[in-house]
């Protein structure tokens, strides 16, 4: 029986939805799935993880309590747990946290690592991932004593496969890491996280100023959507860099991406081309995005977005 480890990400005591796609990708015949959790055991995830086919939940903790966030000690703790449970294959998300943990683990184990996978065949050790800003799809084969994979959030659809999960606590005392986390500065705006969101509504140059992004936030709140932006809007200082979708910003894979006043440069597409459905609202019929989306609305976004918000409000009232 092959054991596969999955590094699970938790936010506010909840398992992030994107993890379920990773678990789905990890499943296979004669495979035992181990979920690694480092959230300090504040919530019981047995039911939620069991629903997607996790057999064992490994709560990784320090000798006297939870391991405070430190990428180096967390990576070391996961390596120790992998060794203890005899796990040689590890999957995680290509998220902010995954980008800091998976390569640390791979580097320490001198193991091959492929990030941003959109398709995995664990039996054959092959994966597919976008390269060159999403202009090509590469098929890679990895070989090694350990193999590590990062999955692009939301790129693989989650499918339930219920089983009975068992929780095991694994305590470790990782050696001093050489780096100290002094503080975590929270961002000003909370809201739905871009890389996690099922719906993203994003604004570009057509928003005209930062103040106007308010209409996107209002609309987003009603759909449970996250608000993104193009580089043009970020460079103009209308919105913070953390909202930038694209080549030099966040890569996203939502079910629906609504681009408002975004021309649709190659660089922007690099960050959102794997979205399920792309809707473009743009006055300019010649904008690149009009020909590269699924649904184009050639109209003034200031006419369309507030109307959409009002319609969503009406629907909300009805329910």
């Amino acid at each position: 029986m092959e054991k596969v480890g999955i590094l699970i990400e938790v936010k506010a005591d909840q398992i992030k939805k994107a993890n379920y796609g990773v678990i789905t990708a990890a499943r296979g015949r004669d495979r035992q799935l181990y979920a690694f959790l480092l959230d300090g055991g504040r919530a019981d995830h047995k039911l939620t993880l069991g629903r997607y086919g996790i057999h064992k939940i490994i709560e990784i903790a320090g000798q006297e309590g939870p391991l405070e966030w430190n990428p180096a000690t967390w990576a070391q703790a996961v390596i120790e747990a992998m060794e203890y449970f005899g796990i040689r294959t590890l999957l995680g998300l290509t998220s902010s946290q995954g980008k800091d943990l998976l390569p640390r683990i791979a580097a320490r184990l001198d193991a091959p690592l492929v990030m941003d996978c959109i398709h995995l065949n664990l039996a054959e050790h092959t994966v597919r991932k976008p390269q060159y800003s999403g202009k090509t799809i590469a098929t890679l084969k990895v070989q090694g004593g350990h193999c590590i994979y990062g999955v692009r959030p939301n790129a693989i659809a989650a499918q339930p496969a219920p089983c009975e999960a068992e929780t095991v606590i694994y305590r470790t005392a990782p050696a001093p890491a050489g780096l100290t986390v002094k503080a975590i500065k929270q961002a000003m705006s909370a809201g739905v996280d871009l890389s996690e969101a099922e719906i993203i509504i994003a604004g570009g140059r057509g928003m005209e100023n930062g103040e106007n992004f308010k209409i996107l936030f209002e609309c987003a709140a009603l759909m449970g959507a996250a608000v993104g932006a193009s580089r043009a809007a970020v460079d103009a200082d209308w919105v913070p860099y953390a909202m930038q979708v694209g080549q030099t910003g966040v890569t996203v894979s939502p079910k629906v991406y609504i681009a408002c006043g975004i021309s649709g440069s190659v660089q922007h597409f690099a960050g959102m081309k794997t979205a399920g459905l792309i809707v473009a609202i743009n006055q300019d019929l010649t904008a690149a995005i009009i020909g590269k989306c699924d649904y184009a609305i050639v109209a003034d976004l200031f006419e369309i977005v507030p109307r959409l918000t009002r319609k969503l409000q009406a629907l909300d009232g009805r329910i």
Partner: protein, 256 residues
Amino acid sequence: MQIYVCVKHVPDTAAKITVKAPNQIEEAITFIMNPYDENAIEEAVRIKKRRGDAEVIAVTLGKPAAENTLRSALAMGADRGILILTEDPPDSLVTARALTVAIEQDGTPDIIFTGKESIDNAGFQTMYRLAAALDMTVVSNVAAFALEGKRVVVECQMEGGARGVIELSLPCVIGAGKGLNKPSYPTLPAIMQARRKEVKRIALDSLRIEKPSARADILELKPAVEARRAQQLKGSAEEVVRQLIRILREEARVIE
């Protein structure tokens, strides 16, 4: 102090990528320095300007044309360059080993900067492998950097715009993020001067790297299929919004 900056020669983001069978791209296109590596060079040069005693060495691995990216780094203020030559760019396990050996043979790094990712292969891992090989600490996606004596304090971009304030000691590896600084474009005299700066050329084979047992090979590259057939929603604003709601509800099923 010696600051090494690992840079990469990559296709311009706007360039059209054509696949040449089976795992290579047509390279008769515009290449640039990986954008995040510009932030890495800029930060190293700023340290040099502040301290005066620092030497900045740009290192790259690639085909002979990668020298152009080294020259850009030199024009931005790096003192000299190291070009590890290969006709067949290897995976990141070998790349990191090659960079490690070339740096160790050249000097004693106090800080190694890289970009947080390369926009061609997007492996996100070379800086971590360098750190592991050299037994240094590493942080990536760095948006703020301060050097205080032997101590480094950085801010790393985290999810949703949060930032982790992390302290580490020298020597260390730093993966530069976009927010770290605004790279300054080199002046014409700086570009002219860069042509005369020293670039050491080393054949990858001559580094005698121990071959790793693990590997990641590209079996195949395929152009991404642009499968979207744009359909225009027509009618009055009211009608268009009604259609959009229907699409969100029935086709995408993201709203109730």
